[in-house]
Amino acid sequence: MGIRLIQRDGEAANLAIRGAHVIDPEAGIDETRDVVVREGRIGGSEEGLEEIDGSGLLVTPGFVDPHVHLRTPGREDTEDIVTGTQAAAAGGFVTILAMPNTTPSTDSPAVLGALIDKAEHDAQIPLGFLPAITVGQDGQELTEQGELTALGAAGFSDDGWPVANAAVMRRALQYQKMTGLPLVLHEEDPDLSGTGCVHEGAVATRLGLPGIPSISESVAVARDALLAEYEGGRIHICHVSACETVAEVRRAKERGIAISAEVTPHHLLLTDAELEGLDPARHKMNPPLRSETDRQALVAALIDGTVDCIATDHAPHAVNEKEEPFETAPFGVTGLETAFAACYTGLVESGELTLDLLVRRLSTDPARIFELPVPTLSDGSAANLALIDTTSDWVVAASDFQSKSTNSAFTGETLRGRVRLTVAGGRLAWRA
């Protein structure tokens, strides 16, 4: 039956956006024009539609995030399907995939089935699931991936942890021949990472914080690329953070291995120089913020396509969990509601990245990799779009978030590119 994307029932959107700058790399649109949404589809009669003044605003195809933590089941105090998908809509996302590191982990048909049922009522935008590769995400036994595929899984991931055992990884790649779904890999050698909590380098040395070396990531990617090559498998690398990893992904692609990769906005924009403030709510995540050399390599890799897409790794945490000393606070930052604005402000306005490419990397490319519907503004398509204000400044504040959690790397930053309206799956999902 293929990948299932679930969205709750709702009224089809009907609206006409007048005179916006419309950009859709997929459809070859880059001009000022109107966008009509009738009965949830692009185009059609404008008669009787609510008119929205789009002058000075940007309309893009909606974004696709293959890497979100919805904390459901188990930690609904930090996020649930309603708030997580609402946060996604507020960030211009029209499809997201949820990671399985829940409590219990999403590692069985029973848990996935219950989540799908819940999403039918709760998901504000189309939501898919990436169940675990191994039972309990403990890296030992494969999950029932045949049945999970039949239920509509979008792929498999042990995100949060690597599949440390190479033989287990190999079995998962063999099993993939029957599911056809991507293995979505958090790449890290747990022994090399040890108790590390920040990028191993001069800043960590100055702060006395144990380091996570770049090679912890690149060694794991090299191993899994070789395993994928041997088994003819297909892998997707989560949140690439190090220039050494970029080199490994590039090498694997040159060898013809079926490998894709994502990068987060925070790794594209921030470095370990931020750590001097010792604020875990903003700057402690895994993989960690790395050096400026790494950041530049990531931007270059995103431009040349070595890294295929942007994903947020939206990782909500309770306020109190992050009110801990840096060294002992948990990893993770939210990202859905700031992804576009942060990348637009930090990469497009600075001239590092074109707007066209940013939209591709947030929308078309992740959709393609995961074989999800590609959002487009061409006539007759299901309406999946974002209306974005790229002219006024927005000082990111904790009170702005639709997410239940506020541990954003961009709190207090002045950004441009706040999303004003999102139509997802043909339904109005967000309006500021």
């Binding site: 380098g201 001069a202 006395g208 380091g211 606070a329």
Partner: protein
């Protein structure tokens, strides 16, 4: 100057020099018969220790008492932390008693910085993980000034387990700030990455290179932080390769150690007991330096003009 003292990097050279001068004034008090001054009468100091300590906790406590402050010591064992209270809540609770100064020691990097968010007191970092121990660095500077001479132009070699050492991190910054040259000598497995650029030091893995130093600062092997599959094959080999002993030093060199010492590991028992080793002087001077630091902290707390009017 910052209100709080979290890291040596927050001080500049004139501020350090001033603290060292104040330390000297307090050391003269300690030569008196009555070793108590009214400087901080009516002020309160909370010493919040989440990690074992003899020297630092005792000297902070005595320093406060000799300044006539009301001093309360809170240890993790026996406190609400044992019941799972967060550091935030512990600090908020203590803050309701309106202390002027909060001295904090904690095993996790960032604990002292976190505490500054939840108290109006001036926070003094008495050690947070492997990050910083600024009063140790100040007392080390003071010890060298008193026992050796001017710091400017000296060469200080920190020897051993740099990775886990807040003493080395704060010390390297402090000695460099005061014009000394700093090198790190130790096993490659215990020198953190990019130490040269991070700390402005030179690095060597050959114990013979301590010959070039005026001061040899021996670091404790922090076995409790190394875990299994340790950073050196055996302590026997470590002692053989990097243990500092009489055979490895030359005339005129002085030896320092922040304590507690692992005799026979990083330092030979004979050298530990030799008067060229300053370890006991460091411990002793720790109190007067902490008197100066507490005095300074209250001066910065903004409510202490009248207290300062009372000269030492």
């Amino acid at each position: 100057m910052n209100r709080h003292l979290i890291s040596i990097a927050e001080l500049d050279r004139p501020e350090v020099a001033r603290i060292l001068r104040e330390s000297h004034r307090f050391s003269e008090v300690m030569d008196r018969d009555l070793k108590k001054v009214p400087t901080l009468r009516g002020r309160s100091i909370v010493n919040l220790f989440f990690e074992a300590s003899t020297r630092t906790s005792t000297s902070f406590e005595l320093a406060g008492k000799r300044l006539s402050a009301d001093v309360v010591n809170v240890k993790a064992s026996g406190s609400s932390a044992e019941k799972g209270e967060s550091l935030k809540d512990t600090v908020l609770t203590l803050d309701t008693y309106a202390p002027d100064v909060l001295v904090i020691r904690h095993p996790a990097v960032g604990a002292a910085r976190l505490a500054t968010r939840y108290t109006d007191a001036v926070v003094i970092n008495a050690g947070d993980g492997a990050h910083a121990h600024p009063t140790q660095a100040l007392l080390d500077l003071y010890t060298v000034e008193r026992e050796v001479g001017p710091i400017d132009g000296l060469h200080v070699a920190f020897v051993g387990d740099v990775s886990h050492s807040r003493v080395a991190r704060s010390g390297a910054l402090a000695f460099r700030m005061m014009g000394a040259r700093v090198s790190l000598v130790g096993p490659a497995t215990l020198i953190p990455r990019d130490a040269e650029s991070a700390l402005g030091v030179t690095v060597s893995h050959d114990i013979g290179d301590i010959a070039a130093a005026d001061l040899i600062y021996v670091l404790r092997m922090q076995l409790e932080r190394m875990g299994k599959g340790g950073h050196v094959p055996t302590l026997r080999e470590y002692a053989a390769m990097f243990g500092v002993n009489h055979a490895r030093i030359r005339a005129g060199q002085r030896v320092m150690h922040a304590g507690p010492m692992n005799r026979g590991v990083e330092i030979s028992p004979a050298l530990a007991d030799d008067p060229i080793t300053l370890v006991e002087r460091q411990a002793g001077y720790g109190m007067v330096v902490r008197m100066a630091v507490l005095h300074d902290a209250v001066a910065r707390s903004g409510s202490a003009a009248e207290a300062l009017a009372e000269a030492v």
